[in-house]
């Protein structure tokens, strides 16, 4: 049974847990000024939270686990909290993490600073007041991604997943896709064909293992009138190939119907890659980029079915999750269309 929560009422036990954690961290009395449930998010509950801590006001966002995990590869909240700390320390534009739930909390959460800006994808690609931001956004996305990929991975990071010993990041991505497919127990010839085609064309890897955000796309980025204000939602972060992050934002579904603007429905690939290079990003291999774009479509299609499965198995009954299973047809169309164009030499 889905928990019903009023939009303006933080449940009392959660409120008490938050305030106790804030006081334990700061040594100051804390009180709740306002709380508002935020829309969106199939795996995470989000709230806008205003606190009074000692004599200061704090504008925060709460990220809290829902029920079942969205993915076996997702970070838990304590690891995401520690990763955000490390990313912010390395100069990544992201909300500073502030307070973490206690170890015994039934559903883990953390509070992070609330930055101004819009994150809803459909608004980012269309809102008239963000028109000037969209002019510069593709370049900024490239620049910000270069900063993420430059975060030192040898020290200071919490333990996050990476490719299994002996596998390249691309091998790992194929392995994970096959594992998800096996879990789903479904047979779909589009997936079989895409997996075989991609498996025969695994790109060469230069061995550069970087911090990969793992879900770097419109919808997970805060945008204000000046452009990119912050990178959100780090739960899928891992160590991997930069091309995985670079290509993900170009997957058609993240363009929110603004198809001609290849980068997240806001800008051009040339601007995006120029921004990446200008901020110190390593050279981009176009074949690897295309490969990761294609497997991005496949992974998103599989993830959509995995979400529908959460409903069908009764773990999280939700018409939204169920509907995603049908949405996968969009990515499947894209996969076959793109592969067909490549086979015809019309990339």
């Amino acid at each position: 049974m889905t928990e019903v929560i009023r939009a303006d009422a933080l449940p009392d036990p959660l409120r008490d847990e938050l305030l106790a954690a804030v006081t334990a961290t700061t040594g100051l009395p804390a009180s709740l000024v306002a709380a508002r449930r935020l829309a969106g998010g199939a795996s995470m509950e989000s709230w806008s939270i205003d606190l009074r801590v000692g004599d200061a006001d704090e504008a925060l966002v709460l990220r809290r686990d829902m029920g079942a995990n969205m993915s076996a590869y997702a970070l838990d909240r304590p690891t995401e909290f520690a990763l955000l700390q490390a990313a912010c320390a390395a100069g990544v534009r992201a909300p500073r993490p502030r307070y973490l739930s206690p170890d015994g909390a039934a559903r883990r959460w953390f509070l992070m600073e609330r930055l101004p800006g819009e994150s809803v994808g459909r608004k980012v690609v269309r809102a008239p007041e963000l028109a000037a931001a969209r002019e510069v956004l593709a370049r900024q996305l490239g620049e910000a991604l270069a900063v993420i990929h430059a975060v030192p991975v040898e020290r200071g990071l919490p333990t996050i997943p990476g490719p299994t010993e002996g596998r390249t990041p691309a091998d790992e991505a194929l392995h994970q896709a096959r594992a998800v497919l096996a879990t789903l127990g479904l047979r779909n010839p589009v997936w079989s064909y895409a997996l075989r085609w991609l498996g025969q064309r695994v790109p060469a890897w230069d061995g550069a293992l970087v911090l990969v955000h793992g879900d770097y796309r419109i919808g997970n980025l805060l945008v204000d009138r000046d452009g990119l204000a912050g990178v959100l939602d780090w739960e899928f972060a891992h160590l991997g190939d930069r091309h995985e992050d670079l290509a993900w934002v170009t997957v058609r579904d993240w363009r929110f119907e603004q198809d001609a603007r290849v980068v997240g429905g806001v800008g051009s690939l040339d601007d995006y890659l120029a921004g990446y290079a200008s901020a110190g990003g390593r050279p981009v291999d176009r074949d690897a980029f295309v490969w990761w774009d294609l497997i991005g479509n496949l992974r998103w299609a599989l993830m959509c079915h995995a979400q529908a499965d959460r409903h069908l198995r009764g773990a999280d009954r939700s018409v939204e999750l169920l509907s995603l299973g049908r949405k996968a047809a969009e990515m499947e169309w894209e996969l076959i269309d793109r592969i067909d164009a490549i086979e015809k030499g019309a990339r």
């Binding site: 969106g40 047979r187 010839p189 509907s323 049908r326 969009e330 499947e332 169309w333 269309d337």
Partner: protein
């Protein structure tokens, strides 16, 4: 009422019920919802009823065409599972068989998209 109808034919039909529920959500429930999360979820519920309606209304001849197309592929697979096995064995690795497979897969995808999101199909096909 005629007694010549099939005993299992119901009136109003399943499509009538689905369309009525969809219309109710769209015109009576959605305008009254202020909570953004609940509004989004109700929009999704309204959409999936539309998906079910389009799928039920498309008629058996469209799925029969897809089945005939699959059977005409190299190896003549009888169902999707058999086709997956042939793909994994490499039966469609050569360019001609691969092209035939992709044409059929796209016809299959289009049938899914007709129900799920006809606007997507219009957009990507120009």
């Amino acid at each position: 009422m005629s007694d010549e109808r099939d005993a299992f034919e119901q009136h109003p039909g399943a499509l009538d019920l689905i369309d009525a529920a969809r219309e109710h959500l769209a015109t009576r429930v959605l305008p009254a919802i202020t909570d953004p999360r609940l509004r989004f979820e109700t929009l999704v519920a309204t959409h999936v009823l539309g998906v079910a309606s389009r799928e039920l209304s498309r008629g058996p001849e469209m799925t029969a065409e897809i089945d005939r197309g699959r059977a005409a592929l190299p190896g003549a697979p009888a169902h999707d599972g058999a086709l997956c096995a042939l793909i994994e064995e490499g039966r469609y690795d050569d360019p001609e068989a691969g092209a035939a497979l992709r044409r059929w897969l796209q016809a299959r995808n289009e049938l899914s998209l007709f129900a799920w999101n006809p606007l997507f199909l219009m957009r990507v096909k120009g």
